[in-house]
Amino acid sequence: MNITLRMAWRNLWRHKRRTWLTIGAMIFSNLLLVFLISLQFGSYRMMIDNTLKSYTGHMQIQLDGYNDDPKIRNSFDNIIPLAQKIRKRLKSDTVAARGVAFAMTSSDLRSYGLQITGVEPEFETKVSTLPGLINKGRYFTDINAEEIIIGSVLARNLRVVIGDELTLLGSGRDGSFAAGVVIVTGIFESGVSGIDRSMAQVPLGYFQSLFSMGDEGHNIVINAKDLPLVSALQQNISNIIADRKDLVILDWNVLQPGLKQAIQADMASAWFMYAVLIILVAFSVLNTQLVSVLERTREFGTMMALGVKPVRLGSLVITETFIMSSLGLVIGAALGATLAYYLSIVGFSYPGMEEMAGKFNLPDRMYPSLSLLSILLGPGIVFFCSLLASVYPALRLFFLHPVSAMRAV
């Protein structure tokens, strides 16, 4: 073992209590950081997944301008063949064409103004979780069927069950009067009341004839295999649709700007808190190391008189901090990871969370998501800042005069 390392180790245990208290401060903040960061990662991921997978998708191809001005007129032609072409080129099923319109939806007893989405039955199931959430009835089988699926809250409000008829009244793409009768074939329940209250889907073929759309539609939803792959896929698709100058491909950040910003706002406040914790730990380390240098003035003076260079003494102090920080890192990260792992299995909830969660399409229990990054990010920064804090005490050694130092009390 290196002599500096051995001396540092022994020096640390000359003051057991002090060392453990300093390490304790690190363990405490590391534990908290690992837990909170894992929880954050977990909830952001769920927020994104749940919001995007229920409807929006990772990317959409739209007519340029539709996103800012989603009018029925801003549609584009040949939507079904285009979707088919993209599926072929990407060799992927997670591509589906849609049309969107507003209609007054009436049952015998009730009427509501609703956003109606026309979907490709075969592929909608690949891009959205809604079809899978049908707990009464079934999803569409025919793209031209005069059928509708609605959310459970909407079904309750409209007082309809499977097999009942709904009347749709609205205006078509050309401004003409659009009216039709559809049969409720499925009712889905996502548990998020906003979705269950307001979503309705009909098959795209029927949608196009009802709203005088011809072969047009409003967007093609495309999902990547995983979030990090979105931008690469987006590039790929924009090459495929390069011949269609009127179309754009938009990713979820553009489609749902609120989502990313909510995450950013939350991140900002969370990192403020983490920064405070980390600064307090750094102060703690600074304090301990400064005192430990000061109380060894005589000892260091003697060592220098014996020919030890200040650099060596400085690295001794840094090594001591290094050992403490490593212990803090390992123990803190291990405890934090254990806690987060346990909660990632049983879930975690606090009073009021259910109401909060509903607002962000989250389930009412949270599951921290454990990764190397979420475990090591916080403790890593604590480790680094602790080392930084010991630089000042170490630097003081360079201004030590052996003779006066040996005389110091």
Partner: protein
Amino acid sequence: MNSHLPFKVIFTLAWRNLWRNHRRTLIMLSAITVGVWAMIFMTALMRGMVDDMLLNGIRNLPGEVQIHHPQYRDDPSINNSIAAPDETLLKALQIAEVKAWTSRVRVPAVISSERDSRGITLLGVEPVSEAQLSFDLDSIIEGRFLKDSNDTGLIIGAKLAERLETRLGKRVVIMSQDPDNNIADRGFRVVGIYKAKMASLEEIYVYAGLTTVQKLLNLENKVSEIAVTGNDYRHVKGWYPVIKNAAGENRQTLPWYEADTYLGAMLAMMDGFVLVWIVVIFLALSFGLVNTLIMAVFERIREIGLMQALGMRSSLILYQILIESFLLLVIGLLLGNVLAVGTIIPLQDGIDISAVAQGMEMMGGSSVLYPALKLNDMLLANAIVIILGLLTSILPAWHAASFDPIEALGKD
């Protein structure tokens, strides 16, 4: 022996001891100052955000207390309407705590211009009381607000006007359902355009005169909801039972925190968060505090032994260390409070967070954050730091007081 003398002496001793190692004391002071600053500053920011969300939320609910048909909240249909306030209720609404009340018809409807149609919420309102309760007259950017309940004009949001490609003075058609499920429709002239704090609301709420809407929907004098405000959302608990009793059993009377459980949960969670945050920061501080005291005690072992040998009671040594810790905490608190107030005051005009405006909207907040410095939060932070700080100091102090003088004198 004069009992005051020893106290004065140990106080002086504690004060001088504190500054014997001024570097260490200064570092600890900085740590306490930063900690206390963070406690108060962060709390003020979060309070400000939640206050804003609550005020926005209650405005949009709207009303601190609302009266509905028991089924209305689950099924907001025209069929679940209630009669206009009767005498008993009118009398209850006279109580001093009630600052304003209004009744509305609130129904889902479809609005169509010649270019497009949208699903909206149609609000039939009494313009005068509505303006006292929730509608901000300054938000009208073009035209005027409704004059009275018989006004046949329509007020729509700027965003909706843009979507419908309509403008001031143009005609639009409103389509909804009457109690017999017949489609009722009527043309309206747009007489005013408003801009809301939250853009999404502009697309949803459309205002028309109460009587006009009642006529359109064959409602006679029935309404969907009665909203009441006392201008202080924290004190609704005191007066809402009066209204509830007057409204009677067959109507549902809810205070805002039950009507929107998200908002209620936010307020409760905020109080919880403040406490947890303060305690967490304190815990992070406490390691350093205990460490500082332990170091102070250990380097003075001989001195303490000598004092004991000279006849100083060990309880006085305990007090001496506790006073040292107390002085450290008080100075740190003082600096922390001053720093917190000093950083919050320049931010009173609001912090622009419009970069994340749409995100804040998801949470129900707006794009300017006003820190809210609450005396209670400050007191809580100070009390926790002093009380828990002294408690954690007892251990090192007790340790110092229980030295054996002979052994202590023998230490090097």
